[in-house]
């Protein structure tokens, strides 16, 4: 059981991680997160996002530096069932004879006794978690008989069922439709209200300002971290992505001769990000606004 009295935090201090082949994936990485936040982890492919998750989970030992959760070593946090983790890709055998319900119930094991016999409470939480990701009607399916996005939702439900107060989500929106994405975002916002710490890696730059109050930009180290409005600027993103971002400038001016009203569109292939002239991120519904925006710009 995660008890509510522990102060919640993740502190990554001066961490350097090298894989066994000598490849240094992260160098001198430092950042910290505190209770009640949804933080985006943004960076190009291979910038070390998944590596960072694995270090926080204790699956990789840092060559240098420390990771502490609530002021304690990672192992202790795991024993107390504090951290839920949804990896980028589930490397499980999909022919395994377990149902959707069984998988989500596995999220409860940490809080059951050693025989793992579910109580009514556990069943209720599993039901709720399935409902939250919209998978209730599939609860008796064998897990191999689902689409990619549905599988993703099941593992998300398992993380929810775990009721960890820290959630690490590695690209939860890849291959998930807009409706589910919105549902997941609503959920993350609810969890933030409850004081959870949520760290989400994503390539959907457009939706970051919508639901993340903080951002950590990585490229083999932390380039910048802090509140979204300060960090999510063209300058920082250019630093994080180099020339990789798609870059479009639209002159969104209705009247010839009036002041220029330029909008900048940045895209890392998924949902694009719109920056206004002041360089501040524009919120919400970005994807759908691009159409009319282009039509309107009279040259």
């Amino acid at each position: 059981m995660s008890d509510a009295s522990t102060p919640l935090s993740i502190e990554v201090t001066d961490v350097t991680v090298a894989y066994t082949n000598g490849n240094v994936a992260l160098r001198d990485t430092t950042f910290s997160l505190h209770s009640g936040t949804v933080c985006a982890l943004v960076g190009v492919n291979g910038s070390g996002k998944s590596t960072l998750f694995k270090v926080i989970m204790g699956f990789l030992k840092p060559a240098k530096g420390t990771v502490r959760i609530g002021g304690r070593p990672v192992k202790e946090a795991q024993k107390r069932n504090l951290v839920a983790y949804v990896p980028q890709s589930e490397e499980v055998d999909w022919t395994f004879p377990v149902s959707v319900w069984d998988v989500v119930m596995m999220g409860r094991y940490g809080s059951m006794n050693f025989l793992r016999i579910p109580r009514e409470e556990d069943r209720r939480i599993v039901r709720e978690s399935l409902e939250r990701v919209g998978m209730s009607e599939y609860k008796d399916r064998q897990i191999g008989e689902l689409s990619g996005g549905q599988k993703k939702r099941v593992f998300l439900a398992r993380a929810l069922a775990q009721r960890g107060r820290i959630m690490l989500l590695d690209e939860p929106f890849t291959g998930v439709d807009v409706k589910t994405e919105t549902a997941i975002i609503d959920l993350l916002e609810e969890l933030r209200e409850d004081g959870h710490i949520i760290l989400v890696s994503t390539h959907n730059l457009g939706s970051v300002p919508e639901f993340c109050d903080r951002v950590v930009l990585v490229n083999r180290t932390v380039l910048a971290s802090g509140p979204t409005a300060q960090i999510f600027t063209e300058e920082n993103l250019a630093k994080a992505f180099g020339g990789v971002l798609r870059h479009f400038k639209f002159d969104h001016t209705d009247l010839p001769g009036s002041a220029r009203n330029e909008v900048l569109l940045l895209s890392d292939d998924e949902r694009p990000l719109l920056l206004g002239q002041d360089g501040a991120p524009k919120r919400s519904g970005v994807g759908t606004k691009t159409g009319p925006l282009v039509e309107d710009s009279r040259k």
């Binding site: 024993k79 055998d93 395994f96 004879p97 377990v98 149902s99 596995m106 094991y109 050693f114």
Partner: protein, 277 residues
């Protein structure tokens, strides 16, 4: 001969009872082995017990103890060598278990024992001595008890070790528990089917059940049933064929697998043909 004839001999009835018990243990473990992809591990450990059996005889220990120790040694040595070379795990395992098996064969010719090599290699379910019977019984009951108690943790470990670690399970310990259970099962089955065929008992029931069901708890039950049925019928048939009971048991199992492979309602050959049209 009358069809009830085998039941008139107490050694036949005993053999069927032991077969049923051993079959149950093997079947339960085979579900984990099949799902974890550890079939070769089963084969390796079963061969590696031979030098242990001879060694235990020399030292005057119960044969089961020697078998258990070398079985585990084979598995851990494989893990250690693999971690320190670029050679793949199955290859390393192949080298180590054949090496140990060969060592056992050499030891056997150098040591005068009253254990028959044939009994170790092919089993001796009709003539198990009292002391071996007790060893078999203890190994079987212990193994079965531990597997059933830990069955959910072991299942989670096989299914998704990452998640198991996330929620604070000691996956390293579970790995060794599963290995020890495997070695224990092999020890239990040694007298019944022998080193060479025990691997069949450790794989086939799980495969049959995997074809027939999509739920793990049902898989355990189906595997155990198919295994008990084949062990009992195997012993029964061997009486009329005058053949090795161990081999008959494995043969019946293989036949049941063939039936399941073709006729399984959802995952059988006919079912998938029907879907394809």
């Amino acid at each position: 001969m009358h069809w009830l004839e085998p039941f008139r001999y107490s050694f036949m009835v005993d053999a069927m009872l032991i077969g049923a018990l051993v079959g149950t243990v093997c079947a339960v473990l085979s579900c984990y082995l099949v799902l974890k992809g550890w079939s070769l591990m089963g084969d390796a450990i079963s061969h590696a017990v031979l030098p242990g059996v001879v060694g235990a005889y020399l030292l005057g220990l119960p044969l089961a103890v020697g078998a258990f120790v070398t079985g585990l040694f084979c598995a851990t040595a494989t893990g250690w060598v693999k971690a320190n070379t670029r050679i793949k795990e199955d290859t390393v395992m192949g080298i180590i278990f054949t090496g140990l098996f060969a060592l056992g064969l050499v030891m056997f010719t150098k040591v005068q024992t009253d254990v028959h090599l044939n009994h170790i290699l092919f089993g001796n379910i009709l003539g198990i001595e009292r002391s071996s019977k007790i060893q078999t019984l203890v190994a079987a009951v212990l193994t079965l008890g531990v597997v059933l108690t830990l069955r959910k943790d072991l299942l989670l470990y096989c299914f998704d070790p990452t998640h198991a670690r996330t929620i604070g399970l000691n996956t390293q310990a579970l790995y060794y528990v599963l290995l020890a259970l495997l070695a224990g099962t092999i020890v239990a089955a040694l007298q019944a089917v022998g080193i060479l065929l025990v691997v069949a008992m450790l794989i086939t029931p799980g495969c049959i059940a995997h074809l027939l069901t999509d739920r793990f708890d049902r898989m355990l039950v189906v595997a155990a049933l198919s295994s008990v049925v084949s062990c009992v019928t195997g012993v029964y048939i061997s009486f009329f064929l005058n053949a090795a009971p161990g081999a008959c048991m494995v043969l019946v199992q293989a036949l049941i697998f063939a039936l399941a492979f073709v006729f399984a309602p959802r995952h059988g050959l006919l079912a998938s043909r029907r879907v394809k049209g």
